[in-house]
Symmetry: C2
């Protein structure tokens, strides 16, 4: 296991080597432990450092991988993790996206154009209201029609009722238009609950699922991606922000572009620059490049910028981010004076004209 770091102070390097392996002072370590177990610096250039740990320290589990990655050092400050050498890891630890860039293009019958995504909102609406919205979005030609990540199992629209109503509505619209819009239920819950909701999504004919890996657990997303009945997975960043501070933690491209992709996300939703959140453009471009670029033998994932994207400027984002991108536009569609179907059709036209 080889991890790349940027440290604020080179004195932190020995602390990382110890904290992330034996968690004991050097003077207490038997020589064979110091030699074979403790992290070893394999490259260093100023404050950029690469440390190698034996794969055996992982013990075959994603939880312990995350522990070596950022367990105790999460409690320190000024350490950024920029990358992992995925190809050195045990081949059964991570599998990458099950569908990814090419697999989704094939499922949707969309060889070159970008994809569109929107969200069913707001919490407090009934299943029938969400289904009506989903129907309109599908008639207008949105590709991925996802639940808002705030929709869980509230009494206003219990999960199963919402799932069945929205899956039926999108499938009915597809039957009318010949389209392939996908309903994407939000299935996050405690681990077992997430898996049961996944199975319900398969049974209801949903074409994908959305999960918040940092609300349930990263290993849950991995398990979903490796199921024999896998569906494409959209990963949502709720509760992840503390991991990607600009001064400590994971770089945004590492978390959203690399780690999530390794864990099986086919779509990585992240907060676009210039919206309601404040990620710089460079971070967004780096997430895109990492999600799509070469990485072990993993399929590429769809960068899915969202969080305040506007109808009026969507064409500029398409120019900036390109076609292998899924554009998530939510609230702005609800503000369209002519309603959801017209708003969706305009988005679809933009996607077609970019192909």
């Amino acid at each position: 296991m080889t991890i790349h770091y940027e440290v604020a102070d080179v004195a932190q390097i020995d602390a990382i080597r110890l904290e992330q392996s034996v968690e004991m002072p050097f003077d207490t370590l038997p020589p064979h432990i110091l030699e074979t177990i403790v992290g070893k610096v394999v490259a260093q250039d100023g404050k950029s450092v690469t440390i190698h740990y034996p794969n055996a320290n992982i013990g075959g589990e994603i939880t312990q991988f995350l522990n070596i990655l950022f367990g105790n050092i999460s409690l320190l400050d000024g350490i950024r993790i920029t990358g992992v050498d995925w190809d050195e890891l045990p081949s059964d630890l991570f599998g990458g996206p099950r569908f990814g860039l090419a697999g989704m293009r094939e499922r949707l019958g969309v060889p070159t154009r970008p994809l569109s995504c929107t969200a069913l909102k707001p919490v407090g609406s009934t299943p029938a209201e969400f289904a009506a919205m989903a129907h309109e979005f599908a008639l207008g030609g949105i590709d991925m029609i996802k639940d808002d990540h705030g929709l869980a199992d509230q009494p206003y629209a219990p999960f199963l009722d919402r799932l069945m109503a929205c899956a039926d509505a999108v499938n009915a619209a597809n039957a009318k238009t010949g389209g392939k819009s996908v309903y994407v239920p939000h299935i996050t819950g405690p681990g077992e609950v997430t898996e049961r909701r996944f199975e319900a999504a398969v049974a209801a004919g949903a074409g994908a699922v959305m999960v918040c890996p940092h609300l349930t657990a990263p290993d849950v997303m991995h398990r979903l991606a490796r199921r024999s009945d896998a569906l494409p997975i959209m990963a949502h960043p709720a509760f992840s922000g503390g991991l990607v501070s600009p001064t400590h933690g994971f770089t945004r491209s590492f978390l959203y572009g690399a780690l999530w992709r390794a864990l099986g996300a086919d779509f990585v939703i992240y907060p676009n620059t210039g919206g309601r959140f404040t990620y710089p453009l460079a971070d967004c471009l780096a997430i895109n490049d990492t999600a799509r670029g070469p990485m072990n033998n993993f399929s590429g994932a769809w960068p899915t910028p969202g969080g305040g994207m506007q109808r009026a400027t969507l064409h500029k984002w398409i120019e900036t981010y390109g076609k292998d991108t899924c554009y998530l536009i939510g609230g702005s569609l609800y503000q369209h004076p002519d309603g959801l179907r017209v708003a969706a059709a305009e988005i679809r036209d933009l996607m077609e004209s970019a192909s």
Copy 2:
């Protein structure tokens, strides 16, 4: 659900109200949703603000509770969560510690003195080596003999082998001394794995378990605490550091003192000031006060400062933090020139003399 925040800028208050409920612009919201679903400011004093959300928005799940608490706003900056009004929540959502301060005193037969804790290290050792250390620590009278949090299911010492060897060793030492030392296996893994390890710990006669809630999932710890065969739980902060930045996220007293306690931690391990980590003393004192103080109908939890505590200064920490504290001292015991049993006995003497 009532949440207390400190914001860097009062303009963030409306953003919080929306992001953590409907995630839509005000102008798109039907009046009944704006009235009944969106967060409402119920108190404000400058940059301190209290927002109330309907409990129905939680939908009965800890994952969605965490989503409302810090889902999308984790992606912003300058927002600190200082508290939650636990007594307003559905009574089956959180249960608090199953044993807590009084329950552990009863189990250990220790009416007034502080508790001691140490860790079995380093990863790379064999089950027999860990068992020998555990035996020595128990003969010396350490109360809680826990696995290092870096021990998972590595081939050097697979979980079940380590569990059985160490539980037997501690129980054998207790039989010799008449003591009640507790072996605390580290059971963190993916959710289901954690539960199976818990069951193995019960079967092996371990007296408690340690879990890293942010490596597995917070809801897993809650589920363990509510089992009919519950054991005392020590919660370890691995991977949690990103949540408690001084400028954004949870205050340390809220995460370790309140949220973990609500989730069922009997012991809350946190990085002590003046050790290998850099939490200020005020934060440590606030964690202690929150873990032990009045909070809904929950039992108090044991503050468990660790992370570089030294034999030579332990008596000062006892003066500072008092008797309702579990002192975690690891590496320093391994540095004792006369070995683990003597080191442990010195710690035990300190604990007895403080009672």
